[in-house]
């Protein structure tokens, strides 16, 4: 019977044959008969994985992806802006909502990115003359820490 409905070429639909790994994963995870608590415990990690995939819709990353897709479409339709216009609008963006000039606003933005909200991170590790590069890498590290701890707390929430 499986053979009777095997893939047809040149059709209007995608009909994977055999099923891709992604299709199989989606098909079988979270599904099927369960023997009481026994399996639930052994598969906790896998269940979390599938829940994560559903959370992703309402995330900053998703919003940014669609903003970018929408902007790209706009550029395509109107022939695109040139580089000068783009940088101009970016610097204007940096100063928006502030009383300072455009360049100061942009400098603040860069400063925030490199040093975090304030300079206290520099005081905590004065083991050398690393200067800007070391503090920027430490703030990068702390951002990485933040995001991994955020992920951790999310899985804890799911667990409960």
């Amino acid at each position: 019977m499986t053979q009777a409905v095997a893939q047809r070429r040149g059709s209007y639909i995608d009909r994977p044959s055999p099923s891709s790994l992604a299709d199989v994963v989606e098909l079988i995870l979270d599904k099927g008969l369960v023997i009481d608590a026994y399996v639930r415990v052994s598969l906790v990690g896998i269940e979390l994985l599938t829940i994560d995939a559903r959370i992703v819709i309402a995330s900053v990353d998703t919003y940014l992806r669609f903003a970018e897709a929408t902007n790209r479409l706009d550029l395509y339709e109107h022939g695109g802006k040139d580089l000068g216009e783009l940088t101009q609008s970016l610097t204007e963006g940096g100063s928006r909502g502030k009383t300072k000039g455009a360049l100061d606003g942009a400098k603040d933005k860069v400063g925030e990115l490199l040093h975090g909200s304030d300079d206290d991170s520099d005081d905590s590790d004065d083991d050398g003359e690393g200067g800007g590069s070391s503090s920027s890498s430490s703030s990068r590290r702390s951002r990485a820490r933040q995001s991994s701890s955020r992920r951790r707390s999310r899985t804890e929430d799911d667990d409960g």
């Binding site: 099923s19 199989v24 896998i46 928006r96």
Partner: protein
């Protein structure tokens, strides 16, 4: 299977693929399937019978945990091979019981009547999963044409992170609205079925992800309907059809 073989096998841990009728026969290919692609589910699949039901089992690998891609594919392949010829209730991936006695006591005997009922429900039926996604460019153009506020946001969005975020959120919101309007109509265009389970979308451009239980005698007509739907919406909605597969979404888990 000789008496000696079955004595040894009965004391080994059992990976349980699924439940079939006690008088079902393992197709030759299902016996081989457990060993394909390095999945090495130990010895070939065999049946453990009790009353009117039987479990399809194999020895799990002794030296490593399950969970590789090949293991997932083997689990699906064994069940798919069975489903082509007999009613089968999939077990959840990763189900292992200590020995054949436990398979009988904890599963086949303990839940005998329920398993019989569940087998009857899916007998002579196959699962198909229909996934529909919007074609990104087409749907974004459409959304901009129908949502002036998004067009305004887009014009401002080069201004910074917050505006980008607002633009993205508005686009995702519009997609959600569109999906909620359109999905029910598409489900009904898929025609008659013996059960439907809709899954939450995994991304904003996903319009529909629905598992349908289709009578085996209706499969050709169903596939033709999906084809027509794909043709109708070509260029705007992309349709993916997965199946026939075992009735994963139509077993009761609790």
């Amino acid at each position: 299977m000789s008496p000696v073989d079955s004595d040894v096998a009965s004391t080994l841990a059992c990976y349980v693929f699924g439940i079939v009728d006690a008088d079902a026969e393992l197709p030759r290919s299902a016996t081989d399937a457990g060993e394909l692609d390095g999945a090495d589910f130990g010895s070939a699949t065999r049946l453990v019978r009790n009353g009117r039901v039987a479990a399809v089992v194999a020895a799990p690998p002794a030296d490593r945990p399950l969970g590789r891609a090949a293991d997932l594919l083997a689990h699906d392949r064994v069940l798919a091979t069975l489903a082509a010829t007999t009613a089968v209730l999939p077990m959840r991936f990763g189900t292992v019981l200590p020995d054949e006695d436990a398979v009988v006591e904890e599963l086949l005997a303990a839940r005998h009547d329920e398993l019989v009922q569940q087998l009857d429900r899916i007998r002579d039926r196959l699962q198909f999963t229909v996934k529909a996604r919007y074609e990104e460019d087409a749907v974004l153009r459409e959304i901009m044409a129908t949502h002036p506020e998004i067009t305004r946001l887009r014009e401002r969005s080069a201004a910074g992170f917050d505006d980008q975020l607002r633009l993205g959120e508005a686009v995702v919101g519009a997609l959600t609205q569109l999906r909620e309007q359109e999905a029910p109509a598409i489900v009904s265009e898929l025609g008659p079925h013996d059960g439907a389970v809709e899954r939450a979308p995994g991304s904003p451009e996903e319009l529909l992800n629905v598992a349908l239980l289709i009578p085996a005698t209706d499969v050709d007509r169903f596939v033709a309907r999906v084809e027509r739907l794909g043709e109708q919406h070509a260029g705007r909605i992309r349709i993916r059809l997965v199946g026939p597969s075992p009735a994963y979404d139509f077993v009761e888990t609790d």
